[in-house]
């Protein structure tokens, strides 16, 4: 049996069926996860809350001294279930230890929620908000209390190919004591980079919306560490009071170091790591090895950022002059009408060739302009603008009609869009316009990591083009988010992540009086197909918009039978009973009323076994259908024979005098002859005697 929740996935324990998930303890407002950890819903820890999760006290049944807490994750945003297994193995004092994760029936919401359990941090946050002002930390303290633990934590994460993505002072805890070190907070309860303030993100990731940043790398964590050092050295937010857009613009115009440090005074000792860590070119940025060397006392030669190519003459756009392609692309995103104008009238391309003198870039822009017509979705000008922006700034995210996503962040962006109902169409158009594939094509260097991304988005586009149930945007959602629970309206509160979870959730939904007319909606179908691709194509066509009622119910039964066989979720009597009540079109195939009643009774009886196989065997009995058809033909013949016999008898009755004149007189003649023979014989015998 596949794991029913993250807990069993982590533990490698088998799923425990419908009651196997974290269950509510009726004795108190607490839930139990994995039969070991208790989470107390009546003991919130507000000070540990994050933007996407609320914290509650937790306890370990096996270890009473363990001081733990649990994050109850916000629905609609998938936690980073892909890294939890690896994160559970990280045991370093510099990082909040993840104990377990799973799905529980959360009493406060009366719905299932993903929870992640951590050891409770002993100290307080370095900052409660980024606008806090704290006492500037001394260089030595930053080095010993922050940078050394950070190096330790990041090394551990790198060894497991993990990206933290949430290194900022509001997610770092300082242990009590004068010489204590910091503990880096959690990074698993929300999608990668979702909770990271923009100032801590690199320029490229910062341009993406929080849900579209995608999985990052250690280099991104190193950048965040550089910003963190700057925060602690200054004791405040160096760009406090500035809007995110202004910060981004400043980073674009002057580079991150200059934009963030500005006029602030940073000690000579700290300048070197801050400058190295804030380099915008990830290839130039300090690595863990560089940081390790610096912490060991070796001083590195300061790295200078690569100069940005500038045009000889500026391009006037939206009231401002631009000399760099990247800044121009950033401005064009914000003034799309003006941007489309300079693209379509050729002004941009001319400027790139003549003023920028960058033929490669100009060719790339030209290709983006021309290739926009190959995709579908949205308007041509929107697609063209998106491609031109990618050509101008290849490392920036895909920017399309107000959304901004990295290719690998499209999945989470879509998950958030589906849960909030905002920007779903735009995300779908990004995929159907093949923008992720163009993004990869404009990257300067080929990376093997891009190959699966191309394949993933080709598949997603194919799914998007099919409108039948099981495909469309819902299928793309589960294709791009393998850990995404099923969002079907009927089961969304049950947080089903695997097929058996889904079936048990549907079993419970079947009991509700407000259940829908059919058990399979588009989300559930897409979820099923994404988890189990071996569904018969005929069944899929049957439940499609063109399917007839009979094909539809047979398709539903076929699919449920198949996934029950696959998931081994058994028994499901309520769900079977629900499906059995839908089988009228299948029962109507039988002509015999007696047979229909028997089949209906048998379906109801077999539904109680909770096995779709038993329903399937009854309904899909082609031999019985054929025999019923043959018997029906015989019945029709018999009916017509009866009709003829009745007509004939009626005709005879209408001419009943013929009975008298015909057979009646014949009988009378026979009677008379027989009587005569008897009398004659008697006379002869009497005469002789």
């Amino acid at each position: 049996m596949p794991p029913s929740d993250l807990s069993s996935f982590l533990d490698g324990a088998p799923g425990a069926g419908p009651q196997g998930r974290g269950a509510v303890d009726p004795a108190a407002a607490k839930v139990v996860l994995g039969k070991r950890y208790e989470i107390f819903a009546d003991q919130p820890l507000v000070q540990l809350n994050t933007a996407t999760a609320t914290a509650y006290r937790a306890a370990d049944k096996r270890d009473e001294r363990a001081d733990m807490f649990a994050y109850v994750c916000r629905p609609g945003l998938p936690p980073r279930s892909d890294i939890m297994g690896a994160l559970k193995g990280v045991e370093t004092p510099a990082l909040l230890r993840l104990r377990d994760a799973g799905v529980v029936d959360w009493p406060l919401n009366r719905a299932h929620r993903a929870v992640v359990l951590f050891d409770r941090p002993a100290g307080r946050r370095l900052m409660t908000t980024l606008d806090d002002r704290i006492e500037p930390m001394l260089d030595e303290a930053i080095t010993r209390q922050v940078m050394q633990p950070a190096l330790l934590a990041l090394k551990e994460l790198k060894a497991r190919r993990l990206f933290h993505g949430c290194i900022n002072p509001t997610n770092i805890f300082m242990r009590p004591g004068a010489n204590s070190t910091v503990v880096f907070g959690e990074c698993a309860s929300a999608p990668s980079g979702y909770c990271q303030p923009l100032v801590f993100e690199t320029l490229e990731r910062g341009m993406a919306m929080p849900s579209g940043r995608g999985p990052g790398s250690v280099a991104d964590d190193m950048y965040a560490l550089g910003v963190l050092i700057l925060f602690l050295a200054l004791g405040r937010n160096p760009v406090g009071g500035q809007s995110d857009e202004r910060v981004l613009q400043a980073k674009l115009d002057r580079g991150s170091y200059a934009a963030l440090v500005g006029d602030a005074r940073v000690s000579a000792m700290m300048t070197e790591p801050v400058r190295g860590l804030l380099l915008d070119d990830p290839g130039q940025r300090w690595s863990l090895a560089d940081l390790d060397l610096w912490l060991s006392g070796r001083r590195l030669s300061p790295k200078q950022p690569q100069p940005v190519r500038r045009a000889q003459r500026p391009l006037s756009f939206a009231g401002r002059d631009y000399v760099a392609a990247r800044s121009l692309a950033f401005a064009m995103e914000r003034s799309p009408i003006e941007a489309v104008r300079i693209i379509e009238n050729g002004e941009l391309e001319t400027w790139l060739r003549r003023s920028m003198e960058d033929e490669t870039l100009a060719d790339r822009v030209h290709e983006g302009t021309q290739s926009a017509s190959s995709g579908s979705g949205g308007t041509l000008s929107d697609r063209r603008l998106a491609r031109v922006l990618m050509a101008l700034d290849p490392t920036a995210p895909i920017r399309y009609r107000g959304i901004s996503v990295m290719p690998e962040g499209i999945g989470v962006a879509l998950a958030e869009a589906v849960s909030t109902g905002v920007h779903v169409q735009e995300v779908a158009e990004v995929i159907s316009a093949q923008l992720p594939i163009f993004w990869i094509s404009v990257q300067g260097v080929f990376s093997p990591e891009h190959v699966p991304i191309v394949k993933m988005f080709e598949t997603a586009r194919n799914y998007l083009e099919r409108i039948s149930p099981g495909f469309g945007i819902e299928r793309v959602l589960y294709h791009l988010n393998p850990g995404m629970p099923c969002m079907g309206a009927m089961v969304v509160d049950e947080y089903p992540q695997e097929l058996d979870d889904l079936l048990y959730a549907m079993e419970r939904a079947a009991e509700r009086p407000d259940r829908p007319t059919e058990p399979l909606d588009r989300h559930i179908m897409a979820f099923i197909l994404s988890r189990h691709g071996g569904i018969n194509e005929r069944s899929l066509l049957g439940i499609g918009p063109t399917g007839k009622p009979l094909e539809r119910v047979l398709g539903i039964l076929d699919i449920l039978f198949e996934i029950q066989r696959k998931s081994r979720a058994f028994p499901l009597p309520k769900l079977c009973g629900w499906v059995a009540t839908m089988m009228d079109p299948a029962i109507e195939r039988y002509r015999s009323g007696t047979l229909r009643d028997r089949v209906r009774d048998e379906l109801a009886k077999q539904a109680e076994t909770g096995a779709f196989k038993n329903l399937y065997v009854i309904v899909q009995n082609n031999n019985l259908v054929q025999r019923d058809g043959a018997a029906f033909d015989l019945a029709k013949r018999e009916y017509q024979l009866a009709r003829k016999v009745i007509q004939h008898r009626q005709r005879e009755l209408d001419q009943r005098e013929k009975f008298t004149t015909g057979i009646g007189r014949q009988v009378a003649a026979v009677v008379a002859c027989l009587l005569s023979a008897v009398i004659l014989a008697a006379i002869v015998v009497g005469g002789v005697a």
Partner: protein, 190 residues
């Protein structure tokens, strides 16, 4: 329903009664109209020849001829009265009338078989009563038995119709209106 049949088309195995075995359904039972003139045929000619040949014999046994001719007057009357082709009435009356004459015949043949004696026997009231009574019995049979047979046949047909109608209702109940085949007629049953 379960009775088997060797139906015309060989497909009606479940039909209760084979189509061609239903009484008077398969074979035509046309009855000629009463009083219709019939053309002379070979049988009539043969009867005429037999009558001509028997005429000398009748003269040879004249007393017997007188006795039987006189005694079977009711038969002659019935023969004349019955205008049907089948002549059931003279057949019925004649057979019993003959039985009524036979005792007088035995009495004639038991003594001197003269014409006078034959006339005396004819005039005997007892013999007369026997001859006419036997003929009358024939008339009674001819009147009552066909009526009884007709009543029986009507009853049987009505029972048959009721039984088949019940079967039709059962079929509709079991298979629905489609089984009536009003939309689609199956071939081979006309």
């Amino acid at each position: 329903m379960a009775a088997s049949t060797g139906g015309r088309s060989g497909q009606g195995r479940n039909l209760p009664v084979p189509v061609d075995q239903i009484p008077a359904l398969g074979k035509g039972a046309a009855v000629p109209r009463a009083g219709a003139k019939r053309p002379a045929n070979k049988a009539d000619k043969a009867a005429l020849i037999v009558a001509v040949c028997l005429a000398p014999l009748a003269l040879f046994v004249l007393p017997t001829t007188v006795l039987f001719f006189g005694g079977m007057v009711p038969t002659i009357v019935s023969f004349v009265a019955d205008r049907t082709q089948e002549k059931y009435l003279p057949m019925i009356v004649g057979s019993l009338n003959f039985c009524g004459v036979m005792p007088a015949g035995f009495e004639l043949w038991g003594g001197a078989a003269t014409t006078d004696r034959a006339l005396k026997l004819l005039a005997d009231p007892f013999n007369m009563a026997m001859m006419l009574g036997a003929a009358g019995l024939g008339w009674v049979i001819y009147t009552i038995v066909p009526a009884m047979v007709s009543a029986t046949m009507v009853w049987r047909n009505e029972q048959d119709i009721a039984r088949w109608q019940a079967r039709q209702e059962a079929l509709v109940s079991e298979w629905g209106r489609e089984v009536t085949g009003d939309v689609e007629q199956l071939p081979g049953l006309d």
